[in-house]
C-alpha cells in the first residue's frame, strides 16, 4: 500500500519540465532529483517527501525519450504518478526504471494538492484519505508489479521475476 501527500500538476507536463536538458550529463537519481520540476515548481524538491504522490493531467511525460525524467521523479522519493494519461515513451520508461504509474482521470479530478492519497497497487484502488472518495484504476499485471518491486526491468530479469 502506497500512502502520501499529493502534488498536483497540469496537462502536458513535458520531459524538459520534469528535468531540464542541461542536467542530463548524469544518471544519478539523487542529482537529477534536485532539478525535478525546477523551472516551473522550484519549491517542489524541497517540499516533496519519501512516498509522496504526483497527480497530473493528460499526456504526462511528453517530449523526449530520456529515461532521466522518470529517474528524477523516483529520485525525489515519489512513490507513484497518477495522471489522466501518459505519453507512450514515458509510460514505458517509467515502468522499466521501476516507477509506479496509474491512469485514472476521475481520481485526478477528485484529488487536490495537499490531500493524503492511498493507492493499493494490487487492486488499482485509489483513495483520497482526506475526502474519503475512492476510484478504481486498471491494476497492473503481476509481471509489471515485479518490475517495479525489483527496481526496474533489468533487475527484474536478473532476479528471474520477468515472467
Amino acid at each position: 500500500m502506497i500512502k502520501g501527500k499529493a502534488f498536483k500538476f497540469g496537462d502536458d507536463i513535458d520531459t524538459d519540465i520534469i528535468v531540464p536538458a542541461t542536467y542530463l550529463s548524469t544518471f544519478d537519481p539523487k542529482e537529477l532529483a534536485k532539478h525535478c520540476m525546477e523551472y516551473t515548481n522550484p519549491e517542489f524538491y524541497g517540499e516533496v517527501k519519501e512516498g509522496d504522490i504526483i497527480v497530473a493531467g493528460k499526456n504526462f511525460g511528453c517530449g523526449s525519450s530520456r529515461e532521466h525524467a522518470p529517474i528524477a521523479i523516483k529520485g525525489c522519493g515519489v512513490s507513484i504518478v497518477i495522471a489522466k494519461s501518459f505519453a507512450r515513451i514515458f509510460y514505458r520508461n517509467a515502468l522499466n526504471i521501476g516507477l509506479y504509474i496509474l491512469e485514472c482521470p476521475e481520481a485526478v479530478d477528485g484529488i487536490n494538492a495537499g490531500d493524503t492519497v492511498e493507492v493499493n497497487v494490487d487492486t488499482g484502488v485509489i483513495t483520497n484519505a482526506t475526502t474519503g472518495k475512492s476510484w478504481q484504476a486498471a491494476p497492473f499485471p503481476k509481471f509489471i508489479q515485479n518490475i517495479i518491486e525489483c527496481g526496474g526491468l533489468i533487475n527484474a530479469i536478473k532476479a528471474d521475476k520477468f515472467n
Partner: protein, 425 residues
C-alpha cells in the same frame, strides 16, 4: 472476427484466442519477441545496459544488429560506436549482424532477407521499426533498455493497442504511390491522430498497394503517432515471402468493424501527388494546389521509407531521357546492396548518373542529417524520407518537403516542386 490483426498476432504468440479478455485494448501483456533490432546509434546503449547486467544472452538468433545510420563511418565517434557493436556480435556469436558490405537500411534489409516476416513480433530500437506490418507482422519501436531486456530474457511487455481501420476504396491513378497515400492519411488525421494506436489497412483498395507501397505506408505509421501499422496477408504478401522466406503464410481472419475504435474510408482514386511542407509530415498539400513556385537546392531519393527497387524505378522512369536541373544536387540511395544491384541490372543507375544524379552506397545518411547531403541555412530540399522536422537534414533554418520518388525526381528536373505529369518533354 472480433479482434484486430494486431490482437491476432499477439494471441498467436501467447497461444490464446484473439478474443481472450487479456488482449483487450489497454491491457499489458508479456510476449516472446522474434527479433530485437538495433543499429549503430541504439545498439551501443543496449549493449552497455546488457553488459552491466552480467546476464547471458538469451538467444543470439533473436538479436539483429544493422550498422546503417552513420556508415560507412562518417567520423571517429561513429567508427567507435560501430566497433562496439561489431566486437559484441563476434564475441557473442550474433549471426544477424550486418556490417558494410552486407548491410542495407535496416527496415529494407530485414524483410528482404526474411528476418521480418508475417506473424512475427519484431521490436526495434528505431522508431521506423513499424515498417514490417506491411507483411502482417507486429513491429514497433522502443528504447535501448527494452532491447537489452529482450537480449536478456527474450521477452517484451506491450500494451495492447486500440486500433483505427483505414478502409481503402477506389483505384489509385498510375501516378500515385504508397508515399502519396500515407502522406494523405497523415495530413488527414495529424501527427498525433493515431497516438498509442494500431493503424490497420483493409478494403478492396489494398490489392492496388504493392509490397513496396505497403512498406512505405507502414514505415510512416509512427508519423501519425501510431504504435504499429498492419496490412492483411494476401497474394501480394505471398509473392514477397515466397522470395524472401521460400514460403507463404496463414491469413488473418478478417476483423469486424466493431474490433476497431474508428473506421476511416480513404478513397484512393481521389489522391493526387502530394507533399508535406515544412516542418511537419501532416502539413500536406496536393502539388497542383501549391500557391507559389518552390525552388529547390537538393533532392534525396532513398531511406527506409522510399529506397526500394520500385521507388528507384519510378524515379528512373521520370528521369529517363532528361537531366536534372543544374542548380539541384540529386542524391539517390538504394536501400540495400540487392536493390542497388537490381537497379544496376535494370539500367536505373545508368539513367541516374547520365541524368546528373549521384548514387550512394546504402546508408540512412542524409535523412537524419547524419552525412551524405547536409543542408545549409535557407536551403530547400524535396526528399522521399520520412521527417521534415526543423533541422532534420541539417541547418535549423533549412526547409524540407516530403514527397514520392516520382515527385522528388520531377522536381529535381524542373528545379522547383512539380509532379511528374506536369513535366515538359
Amino acid at each position: 472476427m472480433k479482434a484486430t490483426m494486431t490482437q491476432q498476432i499477439l494471441a498467436k504468440k501467447l497461444g490464446i484466442k484473439a478474443t481472450d479478455p487479456s488482449l483487450k485494448a489497454g491491457n499489458l501483456v508479456l510476449v516472446e519477441a522474434d527479433t530485437a533490432l538495433s543499429n549503430d546509434v541504439t545498439a551501443p546503449v543496449a549493449i552497455d545496459v546488457f553488459n552491466k547486467s552480467g546476464c547471458a544472452l538469451c538467444d543470439a538468433k533473436k538479436v539483429t544488429f544493422v550498422l546503417d545510420h552513420f556508415t560507412p563511418n562518417r567520423d571517429i565517434q561513429s567508427a567507435k560506436q560501430c566497433k562496439i557493436v561489431r566486437d559484441f556480435a563476434r564475441e557473442k556469436g550474433v549471426e544477424n549482424f550486418f556490417d558494410v558490405g552486407e548491410m542495407g537500411i535496416e527496415h529494407a534489409l530485414l524483410p528482404e532477407i526474411g528476418i521480418a516476416k508475417p506473424w512475427d513480433v519484431i521490436i526495434g530500437a528505431d522508431s521506423h521499426t513499424c515498417t514490417y506490418g506491411a507483411l502482417g507482422a507486429f513491429s514497433t519501436g522502443v528504447g535501448s533498455t527494452d532491447i537489452a531486456g529482450i537480449m536478456m530474457s527474450g521477452k517484451i511487455w506491450l500494451k495492447v493497442p486500440s486500433a483505427i481501420k483505414f478502409n481503402l476504396v477506389g483505384k489509385p491513378s498510375a501516378s500515385i504511390s504508397g508515399k502519396d497515400v500515407i502522406l494523405y492519411i497523415i495530413g488527414k488525421i495529424g501527427v498525433d491522430g493515431a497516438l498509442y494506436k494500431s493503424i490497420e489497412f483493409a478494403g478492396e483498395g489494398v490489392k492496388y498497394m504493392t509490397a513496396d507501397d505497403r512498406f512505405t505506408i507502414c514505415n510512416m505509421a509512427i508519423e501519425c503517432g501510431a504504435k504499429n501499422g498492419v496490412f492483411p496477408i494476401d497474394e501480394t504478401t505471398d509473392a514477397y515471402t515466397s522470395e524472401s522466406c521460400g514460403k507463404t503464410f496463414e491469413r488473418f481472419e478478417t476483423p469486424d468493424d466493431e474490433a476497431y475504435e474508428k473506421v476511416i474510408d480513404i478513397d484512393l482514386s481521389s489522391i493526387r501527388p502530394i507533399v508535406a511542407k515544412p516542418h511537419l509530415p501532416s502539413n500536406t498539400e496536393f502539388v497542383d494546389e501549391l500557391k507559389e513556385d518552390i525552388k529547390i537546392d537538393q533532392v534525396v531519393i532513398g531511406s527506409c521509407t522510399n529506397g526500394r527497387l520500385s521507388d528507384l524505378e519510378q524515379a528512373a522512369k521520370v528521369l529517363e531521357g532528361r537531366h536534372v536541373n543544374k542548380n539541384v544536387r540529386t542524391i539517390v540511395i538504394p536501400a540495400t546492396n540487392k536493390i542497388y544491384l537490381q537497379a544496376l541490372e535494370k539500367g536505373y543507375i545508368s539513367t541516374f548518373i547520365k541524368g546528373g544524379a549521384i548514387v550512394s552506397t546504402p546508408t540512412c545518411g542524409p535523412c537524419l542529417g547524419g552525412h551524405m547531403g547536409i543542408l545549409a541555412s535557407d536551403e530547400v530540399a524535396i526528399t522521399t524520407t520520412n521527417r521534415n522536422f526543423i533541422g532534420r537534414m541539417g541547418a535549423k533554418d533549412s526547409y524540407i518537403y516530403l514527397a514520392s520518388p516520382a515527385t522528388a525526381m520531377a522536381s529535381a528536373i524542373a528545379g522547383k516542386i512539380t509532379s511528374a505529369d506536369k513535366l515538359e518533354d
